[in-house]
Structures are given as C-alpha cells and as structure tokens.
Amino acid sequence: MTEMLLKVEGLVKRFGGFTALDDVNLTVRQGERLGLIGPNGSGKTTLINCISGALKNDGGTVVFKGENLNGLAPHQRTRRGIARSFQIPRPFHSMTPIENLAVPLEYVTHRGRGRSGQPKADIRGEAEAILRDMGLGDKMTIACSQLSQVELRKLELARAMAAKPSLLISDEAMAGLSNTECDEVLEILFRLGSSGITIIMIEHIMHAIMRFSERVVCLDAGKLIAEGMPTEIVKNPNVQKAYLGA
C-alpha cells in the first residue's frame, strides 16, 4: 500500500439551505490516477473547489500530506502542492503563454528566490520547457486570444504544472474537444501521471475516464454513491441509475 496523499473526511458544503456536499469521504494514494464522475450539479466542481480552497467547507476536513488544510487560502494550498485547471479556461489574457507560466514559477516554484536575485532567463527557460512538453512550443509568445480551445486547455494544464504540484486536479479538460484533441490531452495527462504526479480527473467523457483512471468515484446529489475499478463502476446499479442513464 502506497502512501496516502489526500484524505477528505466528512466533507460538508452548504449553499444556504442547499447541501452541495454531504459527508463526502475520499482518499487518494500517492501516484494514483483517480476519475471523478457524476451528473451535472452533483457537486464535482464543488468538491474540488473545497480541496483547492476556492470554497470553504462547512464541515469535515481536507488532509493533504498529513496536514489539515482547513482555513488555508488557495494560494497556500498551491504552495503545498495542489494545482488545478479550470473547466472554462482562465488564462491571464493580457499575457503570452510564457508569461502565464512565469506567474506560478515566480510565486510558487521559485518563491523568495525570484524577488531580486534570480535571473529572469531561468524562469523563462523553465516556462519554455513546460510549454514545449505540452505541445505549445510554437505558441509561446503569441497573445492568448489567438489560442484555440484545445491549446487553451493545454495552457491550463501547463500553468498548473508550472507550480510543480504533487496533486493535479483536472476539471473537464476535455469537454467540448474533438476525439483527436481529447487523445492529445489524455496523452499529456498519462505522461504527467507516469512522472509520479497524482491526478484527479473530472470528466464526462466516459471512454476517457475508462482509459485513464485506476479507480473511479461517482458523486450524485452531493454524496459519493460508488467507488471502484472503472470496469466495476460502469456495472454498478447506483451509477447506472444516477449517471449512465440505464
């Protein structure tokens, strides 16, 4: 049994009278590739917002590398190794892709060093290396507004990776992409996974989930209703009823 990286215990999140997450328990092992599925509005994004700190949970705990993250701001969690991509890409639109990556490189990876001493070229070089790795090598210095949808998704992942995370949460990085584009993004995620990064993938595209995940959890109406191997999950009657439309 490998080491536990993330442990979510009894997580509760309410929006007024609506309970978006109801006693969610989830553990993620170091190096695991976890798929998170569930119908629209089931609380997937709320769950990762609570893990990444964008939302404050009303109950329960999020423990990462043995540390309780409750009360920590998102940027503090990013510094501890949690990075995420956004469902709808949110690039820094006034900056080039290189400058986009320079932000996490300066604020997380080289924090403190970059303030005065660190030469600029270093950050630039690292940003270039990550962008090349993500297949954005020829788009490094153009305006973000000229990037295509799939390139924006890759930029999201690249910027998340620039923070050198140990846990990457990918929020529907493939939604709306063509099959070949999906495969490109999936290939990137596989590569990141094999380099030792733990990945939680939220996705509606079942064939991507089936191929990518070592384990799948299914949320419905704020509750975890099933957990298991991808092949088990699709046969699970609860999942079929809630999500797969059987």
Binding site: A54, T78, P104
Partner: protein, 330 residues
C-alpha cells in the same frame, strides 16, 4: 532593463534641472500656482493607477483619500504646528492605514461592487469632516501660511517644488511596482483573480499592498492643500472632480504603464489650467467628461495604446518585405 533604469534617472534629473531653472528665472507666481495643480494630478493619477490600472480595482473614492490627506495635515499643523514635511508624512501614513482598513473591508467585493463601496466611503468621511468643529466643520478653516523654508523665496514656489518631488517619487514607486513581483502578481489579478490565487498569487496581500501605497500617495497629494489655498473646507476638498480626474487621467493616458497617468495628468491638467484662465473654470469638468468619453470609445487603451497601435503597422510591412525577398530567393 538597466538601460531603462538609467533613462528614467536621467529623465528625473532633467525635470529637476528644469524646475530649478524655472524657479530661478520666472517671477510670476501664477506659473508655480498652476504647475502645482498639474503635478498634484500626476501624483493622484499615478496613485489611482496602482490599484485601478495594475490590479483592475476601480476606486471612485480618490477624493476621500485626497481630502483626508489635507485634513490630516491640517490637524498636525493646527494642533502641533509642525512643518510641511512632517504634515505630508503623517498624512500619507494616515491615508495609507486608511487604505489598509478600507481594503480589508471592501476588497472582498469585486468589480463594480468594490467601486460602489469606495463611493460610499467618500461620502461617509465627508460627513464626518463636515461635522467636526476642530477642523472648521462645514464652513471650513482659514490657514495662515508660515514663512517659506530657507532656500525658497516664496511659499508657492516651495509648494511647487515639494509637489514636484512627490510626483517624481510617486512615479518612481509606480515604476518599481510595475517591474517587480508585485506588479506581475497584480497583473495576474487583473486578468483573472481566481486563476491568480490558484497559481499561488497571494491575492489579498497584493491587493492590500496596492491599496496602502495608492492611499498613501493620494493622501500625500492632498496634504499641502490647506497651505496651497490657505483655506480648506469639505465640499471642495471632497469634490467628486478629484475622483473623476484621478481615474480619467490614467484612462486617457493608458493604464498599462506608469507613463500613462503621467501623460494623462500633464495633458488634462494643463488643458484645464489653460481653459480656467482663458475661458471659464466651469468648462473644466466638461472637458474631462468629453475627453473621457472620446477615449473610452476611440482608444480604450489610452494614448499609450494608441501609439502602440500606430507603431504596429510599421512592423508589418518590413515583415512582408522579408517574406517577399524570401519568395524571390526561391
């Protein structure tokens, strides 16, 4: 980078030399009286731009910081009779702290909600000052100017020089922020605050740094006001005109760089002064309004953006000729 630094220092030296030459040769006090106002707007516009331009948080309450700077200076003068330098430092500290407090309360609000909060804050403080008798309340307070300090022959010249130093200081601070980790973080916040936070930018901390510096500079700009007019009263000190000018000038000049507010303030401030003398002082407001509408529609990125756009086509033809020559070689 270092080259730019050198050019900036040379620019500052030239401006200072010009100021000394002006003070040595020109005897007409009005020149200094009018230039003071332009310089005051350089400080105010630069201060506004640190929060409004770099971080994208539009402050409609600049007049509150400006006026409270003036009133803080007045209190120090009336209560302890301390010199102008001390008044300015105390005023800047006070409005800087005020910026911190207001920031802590209002920076949770984003976009237009933050802006509305700043308007409310200006109204609250104007009401407080209007009802405070020590500083003259609604009817204001007359101030007797002390003698000018030694090298200066008149108090107006001294105020002019002090404001010039503050303008250079404000621009230097804005320029430093722009090129530092603070500026890069603020730019990320302006582009997308949630994404900035998620890639490790401490957004609240950076926004607070920006409000404190911006507030302190606005207070410093207002601190010499009682001495400048020999009089201060709440309606004119808290005038919406300051708030509007503070945001109109950077928008007209261009908010992306420290140079924008300087261009906007010098241009608009000078036009206003000329119009005040030649036509009427009431036309000022109209000019600001018309120019603002014109620039928002025609050049939303201000004069700097316009210049960049005009320069851009010059690059393209060279690219084409390069393309043509390569085609010819083929």
């Amino acid at each position: 980078m270092h080259q730019g630094h050198k050019h900036f220092l040379i620019g500052c030296a030239i401006v200072l030399a010009l100021a000394f030459a002006l003070m040595a040769t020109v005897t007409n006090e009005y020149v200094f009286f009018a230039t003071y106002v332009v310089l005051q707007f350089v400080v105010l516009a630069t201060a506004w731009n640190i929060l409004g331009g770099y971080a994208g948080y539009v402050n409609f309450g600049s007049s509150a910081f400006f006026a409270l700077g003036g009133y803080a200076a007045l209190v120090i003068f009336k209560w302890l009779a301390l010199p102008l330098g001390v008044q300015i430092v105390v005023a800047a500290c006070f409005t800087g702290l005020l910026g911190l407090g207001i920031g802590l309360i209002s920076l949770r609000l984003r976009g237009i909600f933050f802006s509305i909060a700043t308007v409310a804050i200006a109204i609250i403080f104007e009401t407080v000052i209007t009802n405070w008798d020590f500083v003259g309340g609604a009817k204001g307070l007359q101030v007797l100017r002390p003698e000018p300090m030694v090298p200066f022959t008149s108090y107006t010249k001294m105020l002019f020089f002090v404001m010039l130093l503050m303008a250079l200081g404000a621009v230097a601070i804005a320029r430093y922020i722009e090129n530092s980790w603070i500026g890069r973080g603020l730019r990320a916040i302006r582009d997308n605050e949630e994404a900035a936070e998620c890639v490790g930018v401490p957004t609240l901390k950076l926004k607070l740094i920006a409000t404190v510096i911006s507030g302190a500079l606005m207070g410093a700009a207002g601190a010499p006001l009682p001495m400048y007019l020999s009089f201060i009263e709440p309606v004119s000190a808290f005038s919406m005109n300051y708030s509007v000018s503070a945001l109109a000038m950077p928008i007209i000049g261009g908010t992306s760089s420290w140079l924008g507010p300087v261009i906007g303030a010098v241009l608009l401030g000078t036009v206003q002064q000329v119009v005040t003398v030649t036509i009427s002082s009431e036309l000022n407001v109209l000019i600001v309004g018309v120019l603002l509408v014109f620039f928002v529609v025609v050049a939303p990125e201000g004069i700097l953006g316009l210049v960049r756009k005009l320069r851009a086509p010059k690059v393209q033809p060279t690219g084409q000729t390069r393309g043509q020559t390569s085609a010819q070689t083929k």
